[in-house]
């Protein structure tokens, strides 16, 4: 009898919960705000491609009902309804999808849109990955609120061991090539200190010649030449394809060490500019490009 009653009560609870967010928990997001989020979020919108990637990496994609314009990884993500681009979110589409939780990113999503979503009673949990370490915390946080803590812990541990592996490898050599990573073609834009790209270069055993207070400094061709980079890496904005031309343009400047040593490379920008688990792939690729000598005997 008690058993039947208990089953009945739990059934009713589930029924109610499916409609009304009766069961909600409070979680602190990465901006230090206390956010009421559903106990078991079922209708999540990821407001940036990186967050979409994190949700897939955690295996929680069945909760994901909306993504942003350039969410192209994994391929399945692109089939989800789009809610504008992450810098220009389409409020109406977001509301129309009736989400029970939005995951926002501090660096990119406009604050006004986030404020308005909250005024429409949609909980917005903000993440703020600004370096590899905080990105790992982001993954754990997202895992926690999507009830995938265990999976997140495993993923983070795996990523830590990959970072460790690169560190061990790089410590075998004292050689530190000068690196210029070009993330914008016209104008020429690179990444300064305290950016993900700067951290990737340092961890991969290189010197970021664009290091400086400005996060995304602009350069003229002449200035790049004066920085004498040993390695020049162009992140492909795969959508335009102009990077092949950029590569050809640089190749004419034979005075640059990178040109002389034929060390101009193009890499997939999605790997390098999204704070997602794939940033580790970027780190490994970069290490290979900066220190090919370390890979002669195989990793």
């Amino acid at each position: 009898m008690t058993k039947i009653l208990a089953t009945l009560i739990s059934a009713i609870t589930i029924l109610l919960a499916s409609d009304l967010p009766l069961t909600a928990k409070t979680a602190e997001d990465q901006l230090g705000r206390e956010i009421r989020v559903p106990d078991d979020p079922r209708r999540v919108i990821a407001l940036a491609p990186s967050i979409t990637e994190i949700i897939f990496a955690l295996g929680q994609q069945e909760r994901l009902i909306g993504v942003t314009q350039y969410s192209n990884y994994p391929a399945e993500a692109a089939t989800r309804p789009k809610v504008g681009s992450y810098v220009r979110l389409d409020l109406e589409r977001i509301v129309a999808l009736d989400p029970d939780l939005c995951l926002a990113i501090k660096d990119g999503n406009p604050k006004e849109t986030i404020d308005r979503l909250q005024s429409l009673d949609i909980p917005v949990f903000a993440v703020n990955p600004h370096n590899l370490e905080s990105m790992l915390q982001t993954i754990q946080k997202v895992g926690d609120i999507l009830n995938a803590s265990q999976k997140a812990t495993t993923l983070v541990a795996d990523m830590r061991s990959r970072i460790q592996r690169v560190e061990t490898l790089v410590s075998k050599t004292a050689h530190r090539p000068r690196v210029f990573i070009q993330i914008g073609i016209s104008p020429i834009v690179s990444a300064g200190s305290n950016t993900f790209i700067d951290e990737l270069i340092n961890r991969a055993g290189g010197i970021n010649v664009a290091a400086g207070p400005s996060a995304y400094p602009h350069f003229s061709r002449e200035q790049v030449l004066a920085l004498t980079p040993d390695v020049l890496i162009i992140t492909s904005m795969a959508r335009s394809g102009g990077y092949e031309k950029a590569k050809a343009d640089w190749s004419r400047l034979a005075d640059m060490p990178a040109v002389r040593q034929k060390r101009i490379h193009t890499v997939d920008s999605d790997l390098f500019d999204r704070p997602s688990p794939r940033l580790l792939e970027a780190l490994e690729i970069l290490t290979r490009l900066l220190h090919p000598e370390l890979f002669k005997e195989g990793l």
Binding site: Q69, K82, G84, S85, V87, R88, D90, L91, E92, R93, V95, A96, D98, D107, G108, P110, E112, T113, R116, S119, L120, S214, A215, Y216, P217, H218
Partner: protein, 335 residues
């Protein structure tokens, strides 16, 4: 006596008809959007309480409604601004955007944004200073000989505009952070980022200005008939001119700080309405307010629905319609 009676009925008729147009535009603006809802369900959401379909209800009331309201205020202001500038400068091609007054407000607003000021009163104020600066510059450049010369006024406007664009590009290119994207979109005339309290503030600023201009509409009529005429009717030309220019710049800069550069509204609507209603400003002022409101709501509707993905700034639509008209009018006025 009879004549003024006639005028009053005329004003009322014009206002009623245009009010109907505004209401239609308003209803369309509320019921159409990327979250396809259809006219009927949008209307039922409009008049139902919160308990019905809560998603559609909040889309219609909390996203589309403030936006449509903002479009109405901005459209009305710019159209009225065009009318006032055309009357005071006696130039059919004068318009806040063409004269560079909008550009000056934009410079002020961008400086406000970069300083991290709040939209109201901070950015509104810097924007107003910018518009006053350009207005003074234009008047200074074009008065000298005579304010009546069409070409000299327009040329001054063009040059002030070019200078404003250069300063704007300068400010944009020294800004290397995430705000850049928003500034650029906002510059093209963006009505998307508003919520109701802000629109209410804007309305509270603008409506007294509308009334003020309407009160002076008879004076504008007399001034257009000539200096002597206005003087004999006891109009203080200088005071009225300065008051109207100040109020108009103030209105325009307030809307610029909310929605960026929406061009040519002040050209299209006053011209269209003058063709229909004739030159009497007592009917033109209310007509421009309602006509401009309806026009921008419809332009914004196009801007929201034309692109497959996302939306385009409303200023793109108004310029696509307005710029060719400007060329036609310019050609006509040369003949």
């Amino acid at each position: 006596m009879l004549k003024s009676q006639h005028h009053r009925t005329r004003i009322i008729w014009v206002a009623l008809i245009l009010l109907a147009v505004v209401l239609i535009a308003f209803a369309l603006g509320l019921s159409i959007g990327p979250a396809q809802s259809g006219l009927r369900s949008a209307f039922s959401a409009l008049f139902s309480g919160t308990e019905s379909d809560s998603v559609l209800h909040s889309i219609v009331w909390r996203i589309r409604f403030p936006r449509v309201l903002l479009a109405m205020f901005v459209g009305a202001t710019l159209s009225l601004g065009g009318l006032v500038f055309q009357a005071l400068l006696r130039n059919p091609l004068a318009e806040p955007f063409i004269l560079g007054v909008s550009g000056g407000s934009a410079i002020g607003a961008i400086i406000g944004i970069l300083l991290g000021l709040s939209r109201f009163p901070g950015i509104c104020f810097t924007s107003f200073l910018g518009s006053l600066g350009t207005l003074a510059l234009i008047l200074l450049m074009s008065t000298g000989s005579s304010i009546l010369r069409k070409d000299s006024l327009l040329l001054s406007g063009v040059m002030v505009n070019a200078f404003c664009s250069a300063i704007i590009m300068f400010l944009v290119s020294i800004t290397q952070d995430a705000r850049l994207h928003n500034i650029i979109f906002w510059l093209m005339g963006d009505l998307s980022a508003t919520d109701l309290p802000q629109v209410v503030i804007l309305g509270a600023i603008l409506i007294p200005c509308f009334i003020f201009v309407f009160v002076l509409s008879h004076a504008m009529n007399l001034m257009l008939m000539g200096k002597d005429m206005a003087l004999t009717m006891g109009i203080n030309i200088k005071a009225v001119t300065i008051a109207l220019l100040m109020v108009t710049s103030f209105m325009v800069s307030a809307t610029v700080s909310f929605s960026g550069l929406v061009g040519f509204v002040g050209l299209v609507i006053p011209h269209l309405l003058r063709l229909v209603l004739g030159p009497d400003h007592r009917s033109l002022v209310p007509a421009c307010i309602f006509g401009g409101a309806a026009y921008l709501v419809l332009c914004d509707l196009l801007a929201r629905t034309l692109p497959q993905q996302g939306e385009m700034p409303a200023g793109v639509i108004t310029a696509l319609i307005g710029a060719p008209l400007f060329i036609i009018l310019l050609k006509k006025s040369r003949k």
